[in-house]
Symmetry: C2
DNA sequence: ATCGATGCCGCAAACGTCTGCATAATTTTT
DNA sequence: AAAAATTATGCAGACGTTTGCGGCATCGAT
């Protein structure tokens, strides 16, 4: 059953005027008498007229819709980003259509295609872990199509990016561990192909060097999936085999940190007395853990809002991609909790 | 900068045929020679032709898009529902446009409006905590517009709903606590205006009665916000003032359960030895807590998938709203972990 | 040679809205 | 009183697709 929606034509017929007049009256165009405007608006109200956005899109070749592509909504961080995106988009009269890639490249590509088919005005993208080739995006960028990348950003010339300062956040977290007296600080790192993984690793290394701690390659362990089970396995492995044991872990994300904590408990090690732990992203559960987990908070809402503002400015030609700075960096905040404070 | 997209007309001009022919050739309609089809398809490929979904929507008065309205994406449960929705929608050729209401009625209403403006083919709705009047939905239902409600469902005649068996899940969880030897089982309940809150309360009461435990009204405490801080406050209050102390808590959701656990720890009570705790929803963090939290798992993905299947069937007229059963109930699963097993 | 059937394709209208241009009616200016 | 300016409205075409209908060949059968 289709919804019988009143159209401009219906109003026009009823009032014995042309659809042009109705269209202009509704939009308060000049050159329409106040009397006519009043009648049109009244009837529109009465007939519960609702403009057909599809027809408008076709006519204007603009859909007032932006496409958002993210890896997974279940990630707390991404879900806060979404809120920021919606907030700005709605307040500026845009709709949001969203798809998650589930970290699959194929899904990412097909999402791009169907969104383009739907004539979206621009993209907001955080790409999948599988994505190493950015042709499907750079092709569009070359044609001048508006895209803003956030969080996970590509290394493409001229792409507009919004990121958090992973390096600094990572540096601060590592420094905090050092100042607390931890010395043998291991790093559970993320998948190396992601730029954020590299940045977080760099921050960690820089902090160690700056504080005169000689850094060992064996202290860095990659944890590609980044979930707690993987991290737990890896940590157990380390705690059981390594001759010189770690006394702290700085983790690429909070899930990994949980894995580390579980492994430590299993080995009878006390946190934070024997082992310090710091995570990244500040998931909701950080405060619920025992001990509560120190973490680097990423401003998800702000990132979503900022990225959207930039994208809409580009779409509305308020800024020019070629002229604008192309990477916007947001600050993180280190939240110190019990897991990293020696008593 | 707009994307210069090739249209059917462009292909037609290039090949000296009419747009009708191109349209039909692309869709393998009968009555077009194989030769022409080949040429059209080849050129379409070469020109990177992508159908304009907007034009199609206008022509067909169908957008192949469904609108999803949920309270908040940060809720783990809802984010899994979204995955289920996307999965089914995409596989059946539909797009998804999503908005969160942030539990605000005004936002819910305006979302309905803009989505209707965008000619969506149907709604998938879990309404906000503020919503007590369902006129904005029942009006549409009366006109035969396809809507499926999930999780939070209204008590409207003829509305099609997908829910989990809150009663049974709640009953099983409470029974489990009883069988573990807990007797003075308190219930931290959700906002009373939500049907799910009522159902969970009923299940809890029924379990107690069936096992000969005399039920006291003071054992049920409403926790409207449902976050851990609120629950913690309330629990501390109970533990400090009540003369006859509880020996277990069955909570309306996992966040509340965390609050209970924090309060117990603060009071020096051991879980599960002194106090048993069971939550609801099985958030990711349940396994990360210490002790791990027993919880009633809701099949979020399945719920999203099921609701979408039903909605699309209604849209495509495969089923008739009047004839079909109108409430689909999915089973929950009690996941017993350490927080509720006396050792 | 005629007829009917069949295969291939184009015309034109429609979906709902906007907008440049023309037109008609009214008022102002000279 | 005629010309010019202003005001209020309508016409028609466009955005990109689909689709009912009709037209023109070609072919086989009678």
């Amino acid at each position: 059953m289709k919804l019988e929606q009143a159209t401009i034509k219906d109003i026009a017929r009823e009032l014995n005027v042309s659809s042009s007049t109705v269209s202009r009256a509704l939009k308060d165009y000049p050159g329409i008498s106040d009397e006519t405007k009043r009648k049109v608006k009244e009837l529109a109200e009465k007939m519960n007229y609702r403009p057909n956005a599809i027809a408008l899109s076709l006519r204007k070749s603009r859909s007032f819709t932006i496409g958002v592509i993210i890896p997974e909504v279940v990630h707390f961080f991404f879900s806060t980003v979404i809120s920021g995106i919606e907030e700005v988009a709605f307040s500026r009269g845009y709709n949001v259509i969203l798809t998650q890639t589930n970290e699959k490249l194929a899904r990412e590509k097909s999402s791009v295609d169907t969104m383009l088919s739907n004539q979206i005005d621009g993209f907001l993208v955080s790409y999948s872990k599988e994505t190493t080739d950015f042709n499907h995006f750079s092709r569009l960028l070359d044609q001048g199509f508006p895209i803003v990348f956030f969080d996970r950003v590509p290394e493409i010339e001229d792409s507009v990016n919004v990121v958090v300062d992973d390096f600094k956040g990572s540096y601060e977290a590592s420094k905090h561990l050092i100042l607390q007296g931890y010395r043998r600080i291991y790093h559970i790192s993320g998948p190396v192909q992601l730029k954020i993984s590299k940045e977080r690793l760099r921050g960690y290394q820089a902090a160690l060097e700056d504080h005169g701690i000689k850094f060992e390659n064996s202290w860095v362990i990659e944890c590609p999936r980044g979930d707690e089970n993987e991290a737990k396995e890896i940590t157990l492995e380390i705690l059981k085999t390594n001759s010189e044991k770690p006394d702290a872990f700085f983790c690429h994300n909070d899930m990994a940190a949980v894995g580390v904590m579980m492994a430590c408990k299993e080995m009878g090690l006390k946190i934070p007395q024997d082992i310090g732990v710091v995570g990244f992203s500040n998931w909701q559960f950080c405060t619920m853990l025992d001990p509560s987990l120190s973490s680097v908070a990423q401003p998800g809402f702000k990132m979503g809002a900022k990225a959207t503002e930039i994208l809409l400015d580009i779409i509305e030609k308020k800024i020019n991609t070629k002229e604008t700075q192309n990477t916007f960096v947001l600050d993180t905040e280190l939240l110190v909790r019990k897991s990293s404070v020696k008593i």
